[in-house]
């Protein structure tokens, strides 16, 4: 690109039509996503609110809610903000209207695809990555269209340097592409079903590397870019500190990617990965709060306008919620805090503080500012926008506070002991009963937030219809392409700052290697030296003609390359050891795997478990705590889930952990009839249970045409099935299912004349899978396998 004087001026018309489309999609699909969330919340108190309908049941609609809010509400809002600000910051129209439209329509097609698949149990069951393989391809097509158009705009820009908002957009495009592709690598086994390539602990690590950074690079960095553009515009003042924005950006982009394992503290994940995740999470405090302060201080001297201007109200509250969420996140990453908060509603409160407060309010602020610009008019009603703000604020506070109280209460009750050293609260339903008032409050809070959203839609609609669609225009100076002044891009990218950063990292890793004291000493000395050189270098650099960051800001290719290096560093350290190293598989005395692969029936049952979304309420990961040992049995071990594609460790316990539901301390926990009755109506077994009925599983059938193919796919992914097992999968399936059906007939649950009919129903397969859970903990080394 160039730093030459302008050759000519040219009048350009921005493509604001694409901004209007994404805005409309965000507010409408956002409302749908929020309403689905409200329905899910109500089912926490009234299990009947699914109306005995499979596709309205909590475990199926919760993934729809999360995906809709993330990808439809925030995604569309983000794209609207990116298209509007990018064109103006680069002083160029988006180069390809076709790509803009392809991006828009393919994205909406994916959202519609999610609506018609997730409620019908077509899911990968990985949180925020539930979409099946064919929709993943749609996401990739859409993202590539977006990326090509964006980077093309960078290439033809008429502004030499890239403003901080553009840096955040670059990091989003690059990182989400890497995260999404790696986490969704899968082997399709049918038109609607696939198995992920990773399994067990590796799958967990990859999933939460993705899950955490989806929050970071989809829900945070693009919105920060939007903050850096729209907040100064709304306030009429430049950003408080451009220097701080440089620190904010690089620190955030580099540190965030390492923090994923804080979602897996006290699990069977290796300790080093857990500690790494915790440390980097704590480091996030500094840049996150730096960014928050940079946003809030932008309003210096203009605070009086916050009283009168609803746009600023939303932005100030949104940025404050960002600060609150980014304080709470690292706090929850401290292992002892995580021990209490993990699996509870505290986490739900935490994410909704971010989603509703940060994302929701930033979206509202942006829309209230943007829609009048897009339609050449004024906002229909500031009073109505103010009302939205206060209703929404009360709703969020009610929601978050109730989930904090409910979550901490649950965590404390789970671990409370009697004087005799036994669990005080043995019955799960007693604990759920105690937090029911919090579930009511949460639903009401969510309702208020939606009410505010509806007011916004009305206000924006009236605004839009009072004006007419206009596209922004500007007179820009066209800059001629020429080799930029100063060193080459390669020399900048691999210049002193990059080298010092890499040396500092190496020194840091040497220093924390506690297994080798000499290395630790050398690492510490090395680190102090690197920091000293950095300080001296920074001092002298202030006299340079060409400053490093000024130069890299004007080289999109070099800038993007540095972003790639920054995000890949943490990703590779976390993921590579598990992918490259051979699995440490416990073997029996006779040389067989101690952990048996699932039988054909158990595998089909597992697919039913995945399809129904059981993981949204039940974990399969017992932590090494006394109360969990007493309640669930032995702590989970890493090899127990080694054949699990995908892992089902879960992240929330609305119901109890199921890792040992089939086998508790070496014996069957419940007979088949217990599971049969429990799934048909949980209250037959557990009075007061809030779990919905899954009676349709007793009638819906497993498609045995796919069973052999599923075993074959698993074998391709490394699960040690023999050719005989694959060929005889259906016969094995029917034989094992018949044993369970016969037991249920003997126990009076099934009539004898229904025997043949029930052998292929989904509930029989699910029972086989549930009865298998925990068996892997019992390894009989001498006889050659697990039970």
């Amino acid at each position: 690109m160039t730093d030459t004087p302008a050759l000519e001026t040219r009048r350009i018309v921005y493509d604001d039509g694409i901004v209007r489309r994404f805005t409309l999609a965000s507010v409408v699909f956002g409302l749908v996503g929020l309403l689905v969330g409200l329905l899910a919340a109500i089912q926490m108190s009234f299990w009947q609110a699914n109306f005995d309908t499979p596709w309205l049941t909590f475990s199926r609609i919760r993934p729809l809610h999360t995906n809709a809010v993330i990808f439809a509400l925030v995604g569309n809002m983000m794209f609207a903000g990116v298209y509007y600000s990018t064109q103006r910051l680069l002083k160029t129209r988006m180069p390809s209207d076709f790509l803009s439209r392809l991006h828009f329509w393919s994205w909406q097609a994916v959202i519609i695809g999610a609506v018609v698949t997730l409620p019908f149990g077509i899911t990968q069951s990985k949180e925020y990555a539930e979409l099946e393989w064919f929709l993943d391809i749609g996401v990739v097509v859409s993202w590539v269209a977006f990326a090509i158009n964006f980077f093309w705009a960078l290439a033809v820009r008429n502004e030499r340097n890239l403003y901080v908002a553009i840096w955040f957009y670059i990091s989003t495009i690059i990182t989400i592409a890497v995260l999404y592709i790696v986490n969704n690598l899968a082997l399709p086994v049918s038109a609607t079903k696939s198995y992920g390539v990773f399994s067990g602990a590796q799958d967990a690590l990859t999933q939460w590397w993705y899950g955490h950074n989806a929050v970071a690079f989809f829900l945070t960095t693009p919105i920060l870019g939007i903050m850096y553009y729209f907040l100064p515009k709304a306030a009429g003042r430049p950003v408080y500190s451009y220097r701080l924005s440089i620190v904010h950006f690089w620190a955030l982009v580099f540190i965030y990617i390492w923090a994923g394992p804080h979602h897996l503290l006290y699990t069977a994940l290796p300790d080093w990965a857990q500690t790494l995740g915790m440390l980097f999470s704590l480091m996030l405090w500094a840049p996150s709060w730096g960014g928050m302060l940079n946003g809030l201080l932008t309003l210096r001297g203009a605070w009086h306008r916050v009283r009168e201007e609803p746009v600023l109200k939303f932005f100030v509250a949104g940025v404050t919620f960002y600060g609150m969420s980014t304080f709470e996140g690292p706090l929850l990453s401290i292992k002892s805090v995580s021990a209490l908060g993990h699996y509870t509603d505290w986490i739900i409160g935490h994410v909704h503080g971010g989603a509703l407060g940060w994302n929701g309010f930033m979206a509202a602020g942006m829309f209230y500012w943007l829609v009048p610009q897009l339609f050449g008019t004024k906002l229909h009603s500031k009073q109505l926008a103010d009302l939205h703000f206060w209703i929404g604020m009360v709703g969020i506070l009610l929601y978050v506070a109730s989930m904090w109280i409910g979550g901490i209460t649950s965590g404390l009750l789970w671990r409370e002991m009697t004087d005799e050293g036994t669990l005080r609260w043995l019955q799960w339903t007693e604990i759920i009963d105690k937090i029911q008032p919090m579930y009511f409050a949460r639903s009401f809070g969510g309702f208020l937030f939606i009410l505010g959203w509806v007011l916004m839609i009305w206000n924006l609609w009236k605004t839009a219809t009072s004006g007419k669609a206009v596209d922004g225009e500007a007179e820009v100076r066209v800059l001629a392409p020429r080799v930029a002044a100063g060193p080459s891009t390669a020399a900048i990218v691999f210049g002193t700052p990059t080298i010092l950063t890499v040396m500092g990292l190496v020194a840091g890793f040497m220093m924390i290697d506690s297994s080798n004291p000499v290395l630790s000493v050398v690492g510490t000395v090395f680190l102090v030296g690197v920091l000293a050189v950095t300080g001296v270098r920074a001092f002298w650099a202030s006299r340079d003609r060409f400053r490093w960051h000024d130069m890299i800001e004007s080289r999109p290719l070099g800038f993007t390359l540095l972003v790639v290096l920054a995000v890949l560093a943490g990703g590779l350290v976390e993921l590579l050891p598990g992918i490259v190293l051979q699995k440490e598989v416990p073997m029996t005395a006779s040389g067989e795997y101690a952990v048996r692969p699932y039988t054909a029936l158990e595998l089909e049952g597992r697919d039913v478990y995945v399809s129904e979304g059981c993981y949204v309420c039940h974990s399969q990961m017992i932590r090494p705590f006394r109360d969990e040992f007493l309640r669930y049995g032995e702590p989970s071990r890493i090899e127990e889930s080694m054949w699990d594609h995908p892992f089902q460790w879960g992240s929330k316990r609305t119901g109890p952990d199921l890792a040992r539901i089939g086998n508790f301390n070496g014996a069957d926990k419940y007979p088949h009839s217990w599971h049969w009755q429990h799934m048909i109506d949980p209250r037959r077994i557990s009075a007061g249970s809030t779990m919905p009925r899954y009676q349709w599983l007793a009638d819906d059938r497993v498609d045995l045409a796919d069973t052999s193919g599923k075993l074959k796919a698993m074998k391709a992914l490394g699960v040690p099935y023999t050719d005989e097992q694959i060929e005889g999968a259906v016969d094995d399936y029917r034989r094992q299912a018949a044993e369970i059906v016969d037991a249920l007939i003997a126990q009076g649950e099934i009539k004898a004349d229904e025997r043949e009919d029930k052998i292929e129903v989904q509930l029989i397969a699910l029972i086989a899978y549930l009865q298998r859970l925990g068996d892997n903990a019992v390894v009989d080394v001498a006889s050659g396998g697990g039970r």
Partner: protein, 52 residues
């Protein structure tokens, strides 16, 4: 030398040294960020969103 180093318990100070090193980095960045020295480039970049 290393034997003396370890026996004298200097290693116990490693976390302190590293903490001081990181704190120095943090403080340095903070000072740079809070510097009131104006840079025309930063002023110009900060004005970009307000230009259209």
């Amino acid at each position: 030398m290393f034997r003396a180093l370890f026996e004298d318990g200097v290693l116990l100070d490693l976390p302190v040294v590293s903490m001081l090193a990181f704190f120095a980095l943090f403080a340095g960045v903070l000072v740079w960020t809070a510097s009131r020295r104006r840079r025309p480039h930063y002023d110009r970049m900060s004005q970009l969103p307000l230009e259209d």
